[in-house]
């Protein structure tokens, strides 16, 4: 089980608990604003963009090539960017803080 904290673009803090599935699905199931997951989690839409808290980057590892490419031209992307459909929930993520990225 992992406790995952989302900070929305309105600075609302939402902490959720998940056991499996993707972080995107957890966020969508709990109506976290700004996480849409339109494509269902196959890295096709980039509507689940988050910034991992810098101190938690070792929990998630680096973004994959397709994530980096999908965010290449996104003005809000930075080195902490991930598409959270690609983050599988496991104990390793426990305590992680994710800032929901702005979208245009």
């Amino acid at each position: 089980m992992a406790k995952i904290t989302f900070i929305t673009t309105d600075n609302e803090t939402i902490t959720l608990e998940g056991t499996s599935g993707s972080v995107m699905q957890l966020a969508v199931d709990n109506n976290v604003p700004g996480i849409d997951g339109d494509c269902g989690g196959v890295c096709s839409c980039a509507t689940c963009h988050v910034h991992v808290a810098p101190e938690h980057v070792e929990k998630t590892g680096e973004a994959s090539e397709i994530e980096q490419d999908m965010l290449e031209l996104d003005d809000h992307a930075n080195e902490y960017s991930r598409l959270c459909c690609q983050l599988e929930i496991n104990d390793h993520l426990d305590g992680i803080v994710l800032q929901v990225a702005e979208s245009d």
Partner: protein, 416 residues
């Protein structure tokens, strides 16, 4: 802030798939205070449809992994989900819908998110053939998987080489079936992509052991001892235990048609997704709508269109004045190939294939009309997809010589 005029109003949505569900949640986001009631004849908690022909068909996944929203999210947002109900008719004057069980539901605003259904071709013998399936719902997938499990020979014929047909072929191949695809046109994906892309996908399927047969017009089907003999107009015939129909869709426009709404290749809507009745909106696959970027009316079968029209309809229903102005995008996953498409390529006069120097399959196909970039098909190349999107959106002229030069890295600044 403002006086919420929607406070005691009821919005009824017919169809609880991508368009309808997104609309319901977007309505709440936009501040709709009244009732929201979603009807769908499918009894299952609304789910993502694109995985049906892809990961859901080929894996042992349970459907809850693909739910659009959890059951609790509907409760939390006070959205009434009425599943397993079919709407029989609309009474415009009374602002009421009638369900097939005879019950009535009044509305202030009605949204048609009725989508489409598989087209069942009129082929002699089809109605008596064995194990015939189309694929649009989770139940369809369940039936296909079950038929495949029960079948020892696992000979599958897919009629239709469009995206759905090819995705099903790839998924069933993965499940160990012997798959043949019969396409009526000279090439697969003829309606939606360039010959070069068709060649690539035909090769991809052939390499993965799927038999692709083009210029095959199926004229009759004979069922014998539990198997189907499929005959084509050129005299060839194919044997199948399981027959999959992937020949296109028919939109669900009957409810709209019966009450005389404007229909033209789809339910005609304006820039804010309103139909010819001010209190009835339509969104998603069933609509025929104006695309400002391409300056023409289109009907699109896509998640993007469903979701984006839902957002526009929600804003319009909450008394804002939105305009639908999205660049269409699509995707398809087959084997190890991820195809991402942006724009509409119809009417292109010139096209370029750009193959990256990376190992493996990675390229992009760029469609132009004169100097205007119309569309990009990107294969395992998300970078080309997002760059294409940017240039199309911004109506930016692309330097074709630089685009064609693979020694020039794919970056927007390099393509000016």
């Amino acid at each position: 802030m403002s006086d919420h005029s929607s406070h005691d109003k009821t919005c009824v949505i017919i169809g609880a798939s991508h368009a309808g569900v997104n609309l319901a949640f977007s309505l709440r986001k936009e501040g709709w205070k009244g009732e929201i009631i979603l009807f769908d004849k499918d009894p299952i908690l609304p789910y993502h449809r694109p995985p049906l022909s892809k990961a859901y068909l080929s894996s042992g996944d349970t459907l809850d992994k693909y739910a659009l929203k959890s059951a609790e999210s509907y409760e939390k947002e006070d959205i009434a989900l009425q599943l397993g109900f079919t709407v029989a008719s609309i009474r415009r004057e009374e602002k009421t819908i009638v369900l097939t069980d005879g019950s009535l539901q009044r509305y202030d605003k009605l949204v048609l998110a009725t989508g489409a259904r598989p087209l069942i071709p009129s082929i002699p013998g089809l109605e008596t053939a064995n194990n015939v399936f189309a694929l649009r719902t989770a139940a369809d997938v369940k039936h296909i998987r079950k038929a495949l499990q029960m079948d020892t020979d696992k000979r599958v014929v897919v009629i239709g080489g469009g995206y759905i047909g090819l995705e099903i072929a790839a998924s069933l191949r993965k499940l160990g079936a012997a798959v043949s695809v019969l396409e009526r046109e000279e090439r697969v994906l003829a309606r939606v992509t360039a010959p070069e892309m068709s060649d690539f996908f035909q090769g991809l399927h052939t390499d993965n052991g799927v038999d692709i047969h083009t210029s095959k017009n199926v004229v009759s089907i004979a069922a014998k001892d539990g198997i189907n003999i499929i005959s084509c107009s050129d005299g060839s015939s194919f044997t199948a235990d399981i027959l999959i129909l992937g020949v296109g869709i028919r939109i669900n426009k009957e409810l709209a048609e019966d009450i005389g709404l404007d229909i033209e290749n789809g339910i005609k809507v304006n820039a804010s997704t309103c139909t010819s009745d001010d209190d009835i909106y339509a969104i998603g696959d069933c609509t025929y709508h104006y695309n400002p970027h391409y300056d023409r009316f289109v009907r699109l079968e896509s998640v993007q269109n469903a979701v984006d029209q839902a957002k526009v309809a929600a804003a319009a229903l909450c008394d804002k004045a939105p305009t639908y102005d999205a660049i269409p995008w699509f995707w398809s996953d087959q084997y190890n190939v991820k195809l991402q498409m942006v724009g509409l390529s119809n009417g292109y006069t010139q096209s370029f294939l750009r193959k990256e120097d990376d190992e493996g399959i990675k390229f992009s196909f760029w469609y132009f009309k004169g100097d205007e970039l119309l569309a990009v098909d990107a294969v395992n190349n998300a970078k080309a997809y997002v760059i294409g999107t940017k240039f199309i959106k911004e109506n930016k002229k692309i330097n074709k010589a630089k685009l064609m030069d693979t020694s020039v890295p794919l970056k927007p600044a390099n393509l000016l």
